[in-house]
Amino acid sequence: MNVLDIKLKKIDKIYKPGNLVSGNVVINSKDDMSHSGVTLIVEGIVQLQLSSKSVGLFEAFYNSLKPITLMHYTINVTNGGGKFLAGVTELPFEFKLEPLPGQQLYDTYHGVFVNIQYSIRCEVKRGILSKDLSKNIEFIVEVPVSNVQKTPEEVHFKITPDSLVNFKKISKSEVPNFRISGKLSTAVCNINEAFQGDLVIEQADTVIKSIELQLVRVETCGCADGYARELTEIQNIQVADGDLWRNFKIPLYMIFPRLFTCVSTAGKTFKIEFEVNLVIMLEDGHLITENFPIKLIRN
């Protein structure tokens, strides 16, 4: 049994553009092992995909959905073939994180329709008789955002029956009387910090069952000619359980999940954006929703 592994120096595997990525290729072998070269392939790719419902519609700009290669290196870790002695062999490597010319690095992101992924693949060629060894690992790229507003601006909101649009199945007169006010600390959120704000039920005639914050990602693929915009829920957390006391200020607090979020990103053929929905569930089953588009940044 020969085991091949790639170990990065940074335990969290997070790198910024321009950083040196260094690590070791680790080969653990019981017996002496001959090989004809160890290669590392470093790749950064944006993969786009359409949801089934939009496939037919947008075939016209199918081209714009081709994967975009952001970076691609091939590094030879050894000079040609050779022989590894039995035991653990560590082969150091290092490369600079830089995009291909004309490209730009984006945050690592795993979405449904957009995937931005960076990986290192190591391949050990071993002649004809033995199977080649290969190992693939992912590393994370975080791109700092430079143009950040200095003072975050609070976003105030007020929800009343009058502010509602998009009634489904009920007429406006049936809407119970309520007045909800609150604010967000900012709509431009640092991804490492939480989404914060507060909320007060000033008045409500019905019993509130639950209040939830819904984090939604908005993935857009395509170009100016046509595009597909897909909304998916990432996370839904409750901020109030049961009938809230009136005039009792409760905090809105939500931590951004690590893997499913990235800074708000826009490329030529794709866009990743986020929104937060404040959902107030009433006991009779009706929902009151308020939508807040937010921008995620990192500093």
């Binding site: 335990i11 969290d12 957390i237 109030a240 009792f248 905090p251 931590i255």
Partner: protein
Amino acid sequence: MSSPTPSTPQQQQPQYLLNPKKNFKSKTLSGREVDRHPLNTITPKDEKTKQSSLTSNTSVKTEQEKEQEYNSSINPLSDTNNNNAFFDPLSKENEKKHDPLSDTIASMGGLKLIKENHLTNYVDENFMPWDTLKPSILQQYTSDESTPIQVSFMSTGISGKVKIPINRLNKILEELEQEKEETKSAQLSQPDIIMDLETLHSELLKAWNAEERVRSLKIAIQTAKLLTDTSLIKFYPSKFVIATEILDTFGNLVYDRIKKRLQTTKDNKNNEHLLKEQAKETCRNWFYKIASIRELLPRLFVEISILKCYEFIQGDSNTEPKIVINRISEMIRGIGNPLVANYIRAYLTRRSFDLCPEYKKFIIQLLKDFVFTQKSMENSKYLENTLQMYRITLTDYMGLYSPSLEWLLQCLAHKTTPETLEEVLSLFRESKNSLLLNHIISSFPPDYICSNSTMFSNFIKDADSLSYPKYQLYSTFGVNLVLGHPPKTQILSILNEVWKVVTNFENIKDYISVAEVFIEYVLTHCSIKETDIFLKDILRHIIPDKGYESIQSHLQSIVLKIFTHISDFSVLVSLPNFLPLLDLFNGESQKQISRSTLEALSSSNTITSDPILINTFLTYGKALHDSLNSLSFQDEVRQVTNLVINCINKIDFGRDVEKQLNFYVECRQTFINFDGVKNRLVYGVIEICEKTLALVKGKHTPKTTSFIRACVAYCFITIPSIDDIFLKMNLYLVASSVALQNQALSQADALLKAAITFIQEIPPILEFKQVKSTEDWTISYISSFISLLVVAPGHPENGPFYLVKALHKVIKEYTWESGSTAKAKIFIQLLALCSSWSQQQLPYHIDKVESNDQLFTEDPEFTTELTELYNSLIKEILSELNNLKDEPDNLTQKKVCNICIDLINMLLNVGELNSKTASLIFNLYNMAKKIVPPTSGESVYLKNTLSYIGSLADSKMCQDIYNKINSSS
């Protein structure tokens, strides 16, 4: 060698003859006063033993016996109590609190160990730790009061292993597997919930040990979810206790694991930084995972459970402890159910203690939130609906908040600044929330309460009566006043202030609950006079309409408190309002109170003859006596008996022996069913006889003579009423000796006669725990009896042999065990008696009592009858031997051998050696020799006897026997 009774030639058969000139030194036993009993190695502390030795200057024998009896029957424990070396096997158990169960628990999940690691040094002994609080919560808050809550993984629980029904186990496991957010389960019963929690706990440990972290987290979430459900609302606080115990376990496991990974060992010194980063990353991962829990309550509970882990990732954004705690406390507002919210507040305060114990400000905020919700609740329909939904009273519902609020305030008040206290008080001033006030009073330092007592008493007046009953507030207040030190000048004004309100309470139960607390205040801080006034007020309230009947337990506790504070019983009796209070009890509580009264009386250290006190004693003693019957537990009867005896010991009229006797008469009447007490009474009467004898210096006046007769009559009447035959027999013997000593001859005779008739009632064997033969006791008793008979003068009409013959007959008819030589042994003793009587002068005398030597010695009829008795006794012994000698049993053979040798020795000592006696001795010797086992005590005995015969050289007959025996063998 001249015989005083010359054998007449007409006699066909030679007789066994008594030797009337034995070298007895006639001696009268003389006593001297002693301070302590020679057999008693420890100086007696008890008054009563001293007392009894004071009177002993006449007959040592009686005294000794009496004292022995005294010590053994009355207070068998007194010696051991005085003894310092006395070893209590239980106390050792207490010292080493090594609980094998906790060991198993520790080895199973390391629960105990983990907990100890997490104790902070911040708290001191004034702080009541959560672990102490837990059991009382579990006890109080249950929806099913018949079965106590038992949880295996908590130190309060008992059983080590809990069996979880397999179907429930599966159900829970399924729920864990399902990713579904909502699992609507049917309403569960309390045991079901406890069982679920048990399962969760064991599954948690299992998952953790199997390194299944995600599953562990799921279990923790599942546990927290159970706290959303308030359907069994009365059980909720207990459920909280059990569930948070699991969450604690989870939190501690997570914390300890990360901590362990952060500790550098030698091996990983090189990549220390790397490992630390790794550990931090793990920690962050936990928090990220928890932050994405959908539901609010489980998210909060689980985050709080690992709150301490924030210390590992200090430096990250939003991890500063105070910010975290503030955030969580605000987020708790999102919990709609006020009860659930308040418990999670308590949990936050508890766990934040581990992270930063000094931080208290947030608790004020939590309290503000609490007050806010309470106010909102009162203003909305919520309260009404809730009470209706759960079918619970307002007081009960509010009571459910108690443990959580108590914990909040305790954490806040511990080591806090006066400013903080002031802030809390202002919170009350705004809200007037009486539930809050109650816990403010109970958790603030008692001395703070005391020094601001007027303020607090005004607070209580101001508090709304909605959320918590006023009387409870006063009770809590009272407890603090007792514990603290109110300023001397204010003691009475506080009391008056409080009582102005309390005395007007309409509900008698409310009133007495407060009184129950404040009696202690009065007892601690005020004088006896105030206590009496206080009692008077209580009486004024409870006497009308027989109100006292419904509040017995409260009254009982009041009385007990009085007893603990005032140990001098005579002071108590002097209070005009105390005894009326005692009269108000009935049924079981009357029994309890009577008992407590007697206990108080018996533990007071004054000897008294106060008639009120005696009356009290007799009244409550009677009540206690009447409450027990033949169905009562023996142990209880024994305890009460000892109690009564101790009380009797406290009452002494000194020289007024007549009053003492009257007292004993009353006691007998009162405690007619207690053998032990009657036993003590008889000894008491005997004691006053001795006392009287000492007072008149041995010479009775006509007046004292009749008094003595009254005393002996008392004994004569009392003794037969005792059921215990052994006590009875001993008493007869002692009583008759004392009667003889006091020259009450005919009464002594009657007592002896009674004793003889009762001998046949001694059971041959006792069956108590194990079967035991009474033979030894009987033999020694009868021997003592015979030795008393030596001086007992013969009956003037029935003749000198009346008693002896009666005794003889009783012994013959007594059903001895088969194979027993007891009869023969006693007859040998009787031979000795015959010998004594045949002497010119008896071996001892009782002062002023003419014994048989003075009455009959010169009487030839007496001598003849004596010889006849002597002969018939020997014959009977021989026939007894004859009966037994064919018994094959070894033990019997041994006994027979002993009897033979005993008889030889007795004959040598008391008999005059004539040919008949000599041949008898020779035959007995041969018989003994035949059956004696070669190497045994008996063979030595036989040898010694033989050499004794040889040593009696002055007697030719002896020499002959000796030679004959030697030659025959």
